[in-house]
């Protein structure tokens, strides 16, 4: 890994941490405020691609492990890993990877704006919702002993919010792609 990639990974990890410290932002059309940290995971994949995106998320998780309060609400330390929702945190890794891989494959270097936007959205949903929830649900089954259907139904309430985040991530990733392209092209 060259030094520039190392710096990009670190800067993006800093962005994810900072997103957890910002006050929740409200979207114009719905009254529910969104917390931006899980948005950061989708952004990492759609903007930096699979490898660097996953590494920056891994860096944030390592910062949690070493005892820095980097998660939203000032959470941090090993105690976070004792929570029943730990799968949603570990799941950040495959989520960023899948989002990044699909973005590289289908959205990098596309001239057609709308197709690129749609592909970025699909990539963010596939990683940041499908893969992330799969990990979270498996985590709840293992840690809390919940049966699959119960763990699934308990998580579904959060899906609409995360779909909105995927939309925000896709729009923001496209804006970054236009202003400062970083996504490697994968064929």
């Amino acid at each position: 890994m060259n030094t520039r990639d190392l710096v990009l990974v670190s800067l993006f990890a800093a962005i994810i941490v900072a997103l957890g410290l910002l006050p929740p932002i409200t979207l114009g059309f719905i009254p529910v405020p969104i917390t931006a940290q899980s948005l950061g995971v989708m952004l990492a994949g759609t903007i930096l691609g699979a490898r660097r995106g996953t590494l920056s998320v891994a860096l944030v998780i390592l910062l949690v492990i070493i005892g820095l309060p980097v998660l939203s609400g000032g959470r941090g330390g090993l105690a976070v890993f004792a929570g029943p929702t730990v799968g949603f945190l570990i799941g950040w890794l495959p989520a960023a990877f899948v989002t990044g891989y699909l973005s590289e494959r289908f959205a990098a270097g596309r001239a057609n704006g709308f197709a690129q936007l749609a592909n970025l959205f699909i990539a963010a949903v596939a990683g940041g919702v499908v893969v992330l929830y799969a990990c979270g649900i498996v985590g709840m089954m293992l840690v809390a002993g919940l049966p699959f259907m119960k763990a699934l139904s308990g998580s579904l309430a959060f899906v609409p919010g995360d779909l909105i985040k995927a939309g925000v991530a896709a729009l923001a990733a496209r804006a970054v792609q236009a202003g400062y392209p970083l996504l490697p092209v994968r064929s």
Binding site: M1, T3, R4, L6, V7, L8, S10, L11, F12, A13, A14, I15, V17, A18, L21, L22, I25, L27, G28, I34, A36, L39, I47, L59, V60, L62, L63, I65, I66, G67, L68, P69, V70, G73, G74, R75, G77, L78, A79, V80, F81, A82, G83, P84, T85, M140, V143, A144, G145, L146, P147, K150, G154, V168, L171, A175, V176, G179, Y180, L182
Partner: protein, 200 residues
């Protein structure tokens, strides 16, 4: 950013970090080997004894655990309602125990000890060409250094919105925040290389 380490000289402070991590892992496995609630009830009692005698002020000691404990209680309550009462109780006892001891390990271990341990654990992966172990410490430093920078950039963007009389929206915030931050990567990378910080 303040770390969660707490000064002290108790038993847990003196244990080497690897021993603490191994004990924690063993505890994590051990807790799932028994289904006897009376035995498991010892866990939170012991954990609380250790945690609340570390020398943290009571408010801080409670405050640190609150977010994690809340998710544990919420999921246990959910499990109690839709699943089995026994499972809910077992989970509540196990996870509370684990939370208390995990928080203890975090509070009694310095950040630098953690970084050393992680670097040591990453060494074997160097041979596979996956990471350079010494880069991890550098990356930690960069993150801690740049979080305040990102936050001050957020302030600047917020001020700019205010000056123009428009509301702060996720899209008009996030894209400029990311572009402004990442654009500095080249300069920082050049500075790191110029100082020879990765010459290992």
């Amino acid at each position: 950013m303040k770390s969660l380490h707490v000064e002290g000289n108790g038993l847990f402070h003196r244990l080497p970090i690897r021993a603490k991590l191994l004990l924690l892992a063993a505890l994590g496995i051990g807790l799932f080997l028994t289904r006897d609630p009376r035995l498991l009830a010892l866990g939170p009692a012991l954990g609380a004894l250790v945690w609340f005698t570390l020398g943290l002020p009571l408010r801080e000691a409670l405050g640190r655990l609150r977010p994690v404990f809340l998710t544990i209680v919420i999921v246990a309550a959910f499990s109690f309602l839709v699943n089995s009462k026994e499972e809910a109780l077992l989970q509540l006892l196990r996870l509370t125990t684990l939370m208390l001891f995990a928080a203890t390990v975090t509070a009694t271990t310095t950040v630098s000890a953690f970084i050393e341990e992680i670097t040591a654990l990453a060494r074997p992966f160097e041979k596979l060409g996956l990471v350079k172990a010494d880069d991890i410490g550098l990356a930690f430093g960069l993150v801690v250094r740049f979080v305040p920078e990102v936050l001050s950039r957020y302030e600047a963007i917020r001020e700019a919105h205010k000056a123009r009389g428009i509301k702060l929206r996720p899209l008009t915030l996030i894209a400029p925040l990311i572009i402004l931050t990442l654009r500095e990567a080249d300069q920082i990378a050049a500075a790191i290389d110029a100082r020879g910080l990765r010459r290992h």
